[in-house]
């Protein structure tokens, strides 16, 4: 920039209607930065865990994966026709509980074990595609039908398909 250009800008900045807002903006930026850094520093320290929190952080014991527990048979309800219900239930139970482990990755085998639990092929053909707990609300928000209507449409359709499957 030329000497003339620099002095022009300097002259402009010396005008009070520019100088005051600029100074204010600068102070605001400095204030925000100091507040942010202060908040970062303050939140770097933490308090002790309360007795309530400690008690609630302790994980409840895992349910028994044995054949006396009807829950295992429930997990095996969606086993393919030729597969044993209880064996499928134990496999699904192991897959579900694996999610509690840090470092857990959804492998294709894991997805198969879980998804076949909720997937009823004939129900899917009728348009009742089960989705993950995350995907379904997202789709619902995007489509924006009223929840009551969605329930009304899917429930009879799923029931019909399940009844047909049961009779077949």
């Amino acid at each position: 920039m030329t000497e003339t250009g620099n002095s022009g800008i300097r002259a402009l900045l010396q005008k009070s209607f520019i100088r005051i807002p600029l100074k204010l903006a600068l102070w605001l930026i400095v204030f925000a930065a100091v507040t942010f850094v202060g908040a970062l520093a303050y939140n770097a320290f933490d308090e002790e865990l309360s007795a309530e929190a400690k008690a609630l952080l302790a994980a409840p014991p895992m349910g028994a994966i044995d054949d006396q527990n009807g829950y295992i048979a429930f997990l095996g309800m969606a086993a393919p026709k030729e597969r044993d219900q209880m064996e499928w239930g134990r496999k699904a139970a192991a897959a579900f509980t694996a999610q509690a482990q840090p470092g857990f990755i959804r492998t294709p085998e894991w997805k198969e074990a879980i998804r076949s639990h909720v997937r009823i092929p004939e129900a899917q053909q009728q348009g009742c595609k089960p989705e993950s707990a995350i995907a379904w609300p997202k789709r619902r928000m995007a489509a924006r039908p009223s929840p009551r209507r969605l329930q009304k449409v899917t429930t009879p359709c799923c029931l019909l398909a399940i009844a047909r499957l049961a009779m077949g």
Binding site: L40, A53, M62, G63, G70, F74, M77, A100
Partner: protein, 332 residues
């Protein structure tokens, strides 16, 4: 085949759900197979009823009621306990309808049916479910810094996108969250909420107000403390679950159970005249089977021959969640 598999699950010795883990993105088993199985059982039972096999009808109802009571007693998650309570409510309504329309045909089986309606439900059944839910939310709050820093880390591994924020945003937000303070705040609020499981129906309306004001006080954010753990406090505001809604459903179920048992008592004693029913409900019924919310006799409408109470449960979705159902009743 689905019905056979449902019966295998139903007739297990216990029905204890597995602990899936404090992972907000974890897939949970869908319960629709269970409710569909219960509907198939009901469909088959109605065929038996029309064929006149009353013994088979009652035997199937016995197994259904036992299963749904087991779900409530053994269930450790809110979904299991409340699914069991919803299905038990349907069983009770079916028994009520059998008593109303079945007439003397069911007289020889009344002893067995009366064992099914004997009041057993209590809001205390929700304690383990509240404990598990509180554990999950507190754990999530305690891990909040790591979750934000790693964009969800292993919690959202796979197809889920995590929290959709830039690494810089995630870093800044993670530094504004204090894990222990968040866990302490969430634990305090959830403990206050969970106390509703120790409250009887008669104190429900009062206690829910006390809990709500305690919760508001804990979640208060004065301007001078705004910079202390802002992300953790924001998390606590959105993550805390209103246990009162679930407790209200259990109290409603308890009221329904008492009403059906009262109807059973009327049937056993052969009281069928409207005036006699009204006198019994207001007299002996008020002592043995009071409305759990009021402690007085259930309301009886002589014109409609209907017993009813004021439900405290609310709708399930959106705006409905803010509204109570109104009166719930059974026709005699």
């Amino acid at each position: 085949m689905l019905l056979a598999r449902y019966r295998k699950a139903r007739d297990g010795v216990t029905f204890t759900d597995l602990y899936i883990g404090a992972n907000p993105a974890a897939d949970m088993p869908g319960y629709s197979a269970l409710t569909a199985g219960a509907l198939l059982s009901l469909a088959e039972n109605s065929l038996q009823l029309h064929a006149g096999n009353l013994e088979a009808v009652v035997a199937e109802l016995e197994r259904e009621v036992a299963f749904h009571r087991r779900m409530i007693a053994d269930g450790r998650s809110v979904i299991t306990v409340l699914s069991g309570s919803n299905m038990l409510a349907r069983d009770l309504l079916i028994i009520s309808e059998l008593l109303r329309s079945g007439g003397e045909r069911f007289a020889p089986l009344r002893v067995r049916l009366s064992a099914l309606t004997r009041p057993q439900v209590g809001v205390g059944a929700l304690r383990p479910a509240f404990r598990l839910t509180a554990h999950e939310v507190v754990t999530f709050g305690h891990r909040i810094r790591a979750i934000l820093r790693d964009n969800g880390g292993w919690m959202w591994s796979g197809d889920d996108p995590g929290n959709n924020m830039s690494p810089l945003q995630n870093w800044a937000l993670s530094r504004m969250a204090r894990p222990n303070a968040t866990a302490n705040l969430v634990a305090a609020v959830m403990t206050a909420q969970a106390s509703i499981a120790d409250t009887q129906a008669a104190q429900f309306d009062h206690e829910i107000g006390v809990i709500r004001s305690a919760e508001q006080k804990l979640l208060e954010r004065p301007w001078y403390a705004e910079l202390s753990n802002p992300v953790g406090k924001g998390f606590a505001e959105v993550a805390v679950i209103n246990f009162g809604t679930y407790a209200a459903r259990m109290h409603d179920l308890q009221a329904l159970e008492r009403m059906v048992d009262l109807q059973m008592k009327l049937a056993v004693r052969g009281i069928n005249e409207t005036a006699a029913i009204a006198a019994f409900v207001a007299g002996e019924g008020a002592k043995s089977h009071p409305d759990p919310y009021t402690g007085k006799a259930f309301a009886f409408d002589p014109e409609k021959r209907m017993l009813s109470f004021e439900s405290r449960a609310k709708g399930r979705w959106g705006d409905e969640l803010k509204k109570r159902y109104g009166r719930a009743g059974i026709a005699l």
